[in-house]
Point group: C2
Chain length 230, copies 2
Amino acid sequence: MFTLYHHPFSPSSRFVRLIIAEYGADFQEELVNPWERPQKLLLLNAAGTVPVLVENDGPALCGPGPILEYLDETRGYAVADRRLMPDHPEARAETRRLVEWALGKFDREVVGHMVRERIYKQAMPRSAGGGEPDSSALRVARANIHHHMKYFGYLVASRRWLSGDRLSFADFALAAELSCADYLGEVPWASEDNVKNWYARMKSRPSMRPMLSEKILGMPASQTYADLDF
Amino acid sequence: MFTLYHHPFSPSSRFVRLIIAEYGADFQEELVNPWERPQKLLLLNAAGTVPVLVENDGPALCGPGPILEYLDETRGYAVADRRLMPDHPEARAETRRLVEWALGKFDREVVGHMVRERIYKQAMPRSAGGGEPDSSALRVARANIHHHMKYFGYLVASRRWLSGDRLSFADFALAAELSCADYLGEVPWASEDNVKNWYARMKSRPSMRPMLSEKILGMPASQTYADLDF
């Protein structure tokens, strides 16, 4: 049994929840507010970040990259053709590049700002940096998202899925990030039909269902968030 | 034959040069100033970052994570017990965690600032953000380095190498980052004997030699940089 230390609106944590479900595994959850740097989290992960995954009484697996590789190395054989990592080293490199693009670059330049300014800061005390969103951070994120959407649109127009002909970890990395931005109504769907159609396919997967019914107290989801036919 | 697109003082590029040498492969180099966003780089890697590795006329392998996995997947069997990725999934997760710590967190919080402010900005035109170093960025980096050194000291005091009993990719990731900071005289060696002794072992590896004789025009290396007995 896995234990997942996570926050419901941490995009990397959402990615791990999705891929655990896709690999047919199960987990119990420990909700964590990473900005509080709780002792139980720091003892598992000195970086103080989520997600952290623990299998039974094994060591802590820290961060989405090490977790996805561990999951594939220990469960990949069992899921057979539903495996989310391609076989060929070149295709694997492309999948890993796009996982890092989504959870790294896209998160740093776009979604990370949106989640921090509009969700985390509502829950943080002022002494820890909480309070009103920083409008200049949001402005930058909202300008940046168009460049990323255009690139994702280019990719899914030329391939069946984000990193190639088969569904891969890259699709779930991007879906996890977009789902957080979409909750906040921050995704300009109208400008990129190809991304919208790809995301509609992702939304219809059973692994995404639990996420689409999640709510933040006092902050309803955007109209598109749970709608499979948005 | 590999072609490596890199910058001599990009820590992630240094990491790739080190592990290619450790895996007994060879490469021809294409020097790139990533801040110029040259067309030949953007065509290979839409993120515009180095390192990018290309094998013969294969696709571009972008970024240190995808590159290390590719190298291990295609060459790991051949290097046998000099392989830099452990066998067990749990040990692999620990190696990957520390590679990400070094090239990600440590670079973002410390070495990336030092390299950008003191090396890249000397070569960048003012219109592209070049010029005098930003002293507040350097101050933050110099404060942060102590926390990281303490953590690295704790790790190498309790293990033979950074991520466990065997030399791994994690050691080269950290050595690559520290080598850039050390060139600038920015590593407080005196405060962490264990890290210093570990780095002395790393420095004596043939793969590190070419790097230790590199120089930036008009900016000599620190006294400790090339000294094996610093």
